[in-house]
Amino acid sequence: MSEPIISVEHLTKRYVIQHQTRGSYTALRDVITEKAKALFKKSDPAISSEEFLALNDVNFTVEAGDRVGMIGRNGAGKSTLLKILSRIVEPTKGRVVIDGRVASLLEVGTGFHPELTGRENIYLNGAILGMSRAEIASKFDEIVAFSEVENFLDTPVKRYSSGMYTRLAFAVAAHLESEILIVDEVLAVGDAAFQRKCLGKMESVASEGRTVLFVSHQMDAVQRLCNKGILLDKGTVVATGAMRDVVETYLQLNTQSASTFQIELPKGFRSEGAVAEWLSIEDEQGRPTNELPFGSPWQIRVRFQIDRPLENFIIAIGLVTLLDFPIRTTWSSLQTIAPGTYDAVFISDGIVLTSGQFKITLGLSVDLRNIHYIRDAGVLTVSDVATSNKDPRIISTGAGVIMNQMEVRVELIR
């Protein structure tokens, strides 16, 4: 058996984070008084520090020539692991042995300077990534050809379109001579054609027998490119093995975990008859789901209390993008409601949302006046992995929020 090219043993990375403890509700007055208090006190009791294990006893090995996909939710420790492997940060405990030169691309265009021309930036970026001047010169034409910016080589990159910029930056990094290539989610930028090109380049890198470590949230890209997978969750390795199996485990992990959002009442909140307690995201059978497969039906359940009889009662939810753009608002019909504990279930109709996250706003109102209104009450996550019984009219193009195809008639006029 050959020796592994990368072996990671008991790797642990600890961060100390400082944060201010305060209620879920922040008033400007509180902020000002806290600041004022902090002026007079050296150590503010409201500031506490807490240890946080970004990686906790991580062990795995990578064989030479493997294409390893690293997956996991945000905050699972993927970036920290890549930063340790790239020698940017140092582990707190444990040991990593790497048998080869590492080229890491954690960000597209690190060290690019907007004032410099494309040509100058190729040399600068190459040097930053560890290439010698001779090495860059010998690869120069290849890099330029890959990036398709021949005509703009002597234009400052600040005048480049974002697509050109990304292509040039990826091209430099992709032509590094190294045994190991580490790539972090760089394909998230750029258009579809560029993404295909990058994936193609990475495939050819791997076919030369070089080792690739690839982090991505795009399950289709990971599955296409990688033969081995590593699943991280909360700083530990949850699964390793064939990529397909690891992706499966990842999706199961998501459906098992909680998907219920408790609603915290602000300080001094006084009930006016109706109070929401929690909401949960569920699949069509009513099973709580953390991440909804793209294109599948879903529902939102809201648990609320009514403590006195109310007339003209309405419960409503709104979906808002992460950029605070409202997409949709929907509500129950006006009704007279008796005291008790209720569930309101909002069932999705034909609208198919694009993969990504949507914030949920919740409102309980009487006579069209909100008596309990909660912004960002929960988050609905649509994964980029589609259900197996996929409607051919629903395609995840990534363009737009609503993914349903309209009925389109093409008519010959003359």
Binding site: S86, I88, E90, D99, G100, E107, E120, G130, S132
Partner: protein, 280 residues
């Protein structure tokens, strides 16, 4: 087989440090080249700035020296005396403050790429050195104007330039490393530069201090501990020839302090360097 083997452990970044520094020498040059190129492109008069700043400082300092009747050694013109001090001072002040701010300014590199971090402040000091060499033309013009011929001691100038480099580098990297964790230093840097100009022999000469009967010995000792005193006295001694005497004990003390700062700077930098990406 194992020629490129890397072992990453807590504290392991130390082992091949100087070898890595050599391996990344190309980057060192490229960063300096980038800074020069960018400045040249962003400013209309580009390189002229490296002459204008010392000329203005020189004029004001010479005026102050004249106003306070600072002593002139022999028949050395005042502009030459002050010029020989303004150039190393300008070099030190820009190199020191640029180096001290360099890590924070290159934060995006530090958090995304591995390389020996010492390269960043070192390359900024090199850029300032190039500025210094350009600004040297001022002194040459003054010498031609006053028809002042330097003697053979001028050949020792590179040694004093090296001393200026050591001083700027040592203090610069120390503050740069501190600046990563304690951003308060951002406010201290301009203060050090401003304060330094008053306590270094730019407008006056060291003879004014050492030969004064009003200044207590303790203050003279404190004055000699300023590393820039050694650098500037050395520059004057080389350029202006036998007309200026070198006060040896003070000069040696000043050199000692320079190297002490370099030692402390490198030590502190190396100790904290591994954590830069975590805290910056």
């Amino acid at each position: 087989m194992h020629e490129h083997r890397i072992i990453l452990e807590p504290g392991s970044a130390d082992k091949h440090y100087w070898r890595d520094l050599w391996k990344f020498r190309g980057l060192f040059g490229f960063l300096a080249w980038r800074d020069i190129l960018v400045r040249y492109k962003q400013t209309t008069i580009g390189v002229a700035w490296s002459v204008i700043r010392p000329v203005l400082t020189l004029s004001v300092m010479a005026f102050l020296g004249w106003l306070f009747e600072s002593k002139l050694p022999g028949d050395v013109p005042r502009l030459l005396l002050v010029g020989a001090a303004t150039l190393p001072w300008t070099f030190f002040s820009t190199a020191f403050s640029e180096a001290a701010n360099s890590l924070v300014a290159n934060r995006n590199l530090l958090t995304k790429i591995y390389f020996p971090r010492l390269i960043v402040p070192a390359s900024t000091v090199i850029v300032c050195l190039i500025d210094f060499l350009i600004s040297f033309i001022i002194l040459v013009l003054l010498m031609i104007f006053y028809q002042f011929a330097p003697d053979v001691k001028l050949l020792l100038l590179p040694f004093f330039l090296l001393l200026a480099l050591v001083t700027a580098m040592g203090t610069g990297i120390l503050i740069a490393a501190l600046n990563v964790k304690y951003r308060d230093f951002r406010y201290i840097i301009p203060f050090i530069v401003q304060f330094g100009l008053y306590v270094s022999p730019v407008a006056f000469s060291s003879a004014d201090i050492y030969e004064s009967i009003r200044i207590p010995e303790a203050l003279k000792l404190l004055y000699a501990m300023n590393p820039m005193v050694g650098v500037i006295d050395g520059f004057r001694w080389c350029i202006l020839g036998g007309e200026t005497a070198l006060y040896i004990p003070g000069f040696l003390l000043s050199i000692g302090v320079s190297f002490f700062f370099l030692f402390i700077g490198i030590r502190y930098f190396r100790r904290t360097e591994r954590g830069f990406a975590d805290v910056i």
